[in-house]
């Protein structure tokens, strides 16, 4: 901890509110980057995390795309996993009881090929014990059917959010794609449809080519870019959404340190998700939480929730006007 820790030892309140759900802290493991959570139980106490957004689930099991599924790019990586998964029924039977025993806050990420599939998934999960919230995957860039079709249309986004809201009392969090012209309008469509929060951003549609063979490096040809490379764009999108909607914004995109986390919170995120950085450092969670706590103490901020959206743009605007 640096100098000026005048409140050293005074505990800060890291809890945040997502609709009716209270998270013990704002750091959530991002869907698709943390398996079903159980995989990491050996290296991290799952109850330390604010939440775990489990790997996206369809009703049925899915095989996903053939390898190669990931490729590293400058300060980032592309993935096209294709949502390999065990389906909602096996998840409830095989994973949820252990997540519950480990006191994890479980956010289930659901994907549908049709509106009815989202509704059915929401119904099934609302009856399952130990689910804290639903994240609607309407933004996976790697599968052709469903999902992204809803996420790239304002009416589609509105339709899927309101349909799911009708059948569940769980907080509903649509996960938005950055692959649109104006992501804030999708946050507004979500809010209008009754969403309890929005999470953003999913990955940026991208590709990489092996010039020797002239073949795409991913079997799916295109994939989603994540990692530090996308962080400044994600911060900007979170900032725009915060200014557009009143519901909480959950920010993500290349977070790899406490400073990165703070940047998202100050831009307007109530909570954040961490994905790619967990691959390189599965022990990152305590580092992020310690860093966050130290910052709040150093700045004399009692509650992390008070930091959300506190970006100060006045000086910049004045400078700009006077120049």
């Amino acid at each position: 901890m640096g100098v000026g820790c005048w409140k050293l030892g005074v505990d800060v309140d890291l809890s945040v509110q997502i609709g009716a759900l209270t998270l013990r802290n704002p750091i959530i493991a991002a869907s698709g980057c943390f398996g079903y959570g159980i995989e990491y139980a050996g290296v991290v106490d799952l109850s330390l995390l604010g939440g775990i957004a489990v790997k996206g689930l369809f009703l049925a099991e899915r095989e996903g795309h053939p390898p190669e599924r990931i490729v590293e790019t400058p300060a980032g990586m592309l993935n096209a996993i294709g949502l390999q998964g065990i389906g909602v029924h096996r998840f409830i039977r095989e994973k949820l009881p252990e997540l519950r025993d480990r006191r994890a806050t479980v956010i289930v990420n659901i994907c549908g090929s049709t509106l009815d599939e989202y509704v059915e998934l929401a119904r099934i999960l609302s009856d399952a014990e130990g689910v804290a919230a639903l994240e609607l995957n309407i933004s996976c860039p790697n599968i052709k059917e469903g999902g992204i079709t809803f996420g790239c249309s304002l009416t589609g986004t509105h339709a899927v959010v309101s349909a799911v809201k009708k059948v569940t009392r769980l907080p509903v969090i649509p996960k938005l794609t950055p692959n649109v012209t104006d992501v804030a309008s999708f946050a507004r469509a979500s809010e209008d449809a009754g969403a309890d929060a929005v999470s953003l951003v999913n990955t940026f549609l991208a590709m990489a080519i092996d010039v020797e063979t002239r073949r795409p490096k991913l079997s799916n040809i295109v994939g989603g870019l994540s990692g530090p490379a996308i962080r400044p764009i994600a911060v900007r999108m979170v900032y725009e959404c915060r200014r557009t909607v009143k519901i909480p914004v959950i920010g993500m995109g290349g977070i790899a340190s406490a400073t990165d986390t703070l940047e998202f919170l100050i831009a307007g995120a109530t909570a954040v998700q961490v994905g790619t950085a967990n691959f390189a450092d599965p022990f990152i969670w305590t580092k992020l939480l310690d860093g966050l706590r130290a910052y709040l103490q150093r700045h004399g901020i009692a509650r992390v929730a008070d930091l959300t959206g506190t970006i100060d743009t006045t000086a910049r605007e004045k400078e700009w006007i006077s120049s």
Binding site: Y40, V43, G64, P67, G76, M77, I81, A280, D281
Partner: protein, 268 residues
Amino acid sequence: MPVDVEARVIRNTRLSTDYNVIALAAPEIAAATAPGQFVMVKLGHGSTPLLRRPFSVFEILRTSGRVDGLTLLSKRVGVTTGMLFDAVEGDVVSCLGPLGRPYAPVDPPAEAWMVAGGVGLAPFATLTEALRARGTTVTLFYGARTGRELFYLDWFRERGVRLVLSTEDGSAGDRGRVTLPLERELQGAAGRSLMVYACGPEPMLAAVARVAATSHQPSQVSVERVMGCGLGGCYSCVIPLRNGPKGHHYVRSCIGGPVFDGDRVVWD
């Protein structure tokens, strides 16, 4: 339970212009490593490379009986292996492990036939130690491009391992692929109880699994797929395993493997 160790480089031995053996002070990992397990390695603190890379643990280092480190056998092909090649004593390598499903060593009277291609030699030092402790007879079929890239031959000889060498240029042992002498000896070993262990490029593994199955011998192969995390989080390192007569399903090689029964893998 895997641990993350900021491991100091004890020494770095260049074996050729591409190959090196790097010794790391990671006793916690070394003491817990079973044959065929791997570590996820990262050098530097920036975003390049962003992800860790998997390496089989090569040797377990001991000083007067106490485990004090491990080595990795590396071939320079990319950013991380380039940094491993260039690393000097005192550098720090972030090392997460031990990870993955190890080889299952066989007991006598079964014999162990290990088949290594190039840098695929890596898991066979620890496997040799485990087999020797059981009194199992060990043969190493070891193939490389050229005789200058056959390393640690004395290490294996000193431990009573019979060596069968092959090189693509014919400069040592049989000329051609490592499966050439393997197939020949398998034909002469009908009825004997063997376990074939393999590590190397995937086409080699496919060929080893095939010739072993043809001779009605079991095989355990260690695969290498592009791996993002090593813990089962990213689903990138999958390999198709047979699932019924026609189907297959994708299994994560980091936690389901990297060692698989050769006849379960769907080779394409």
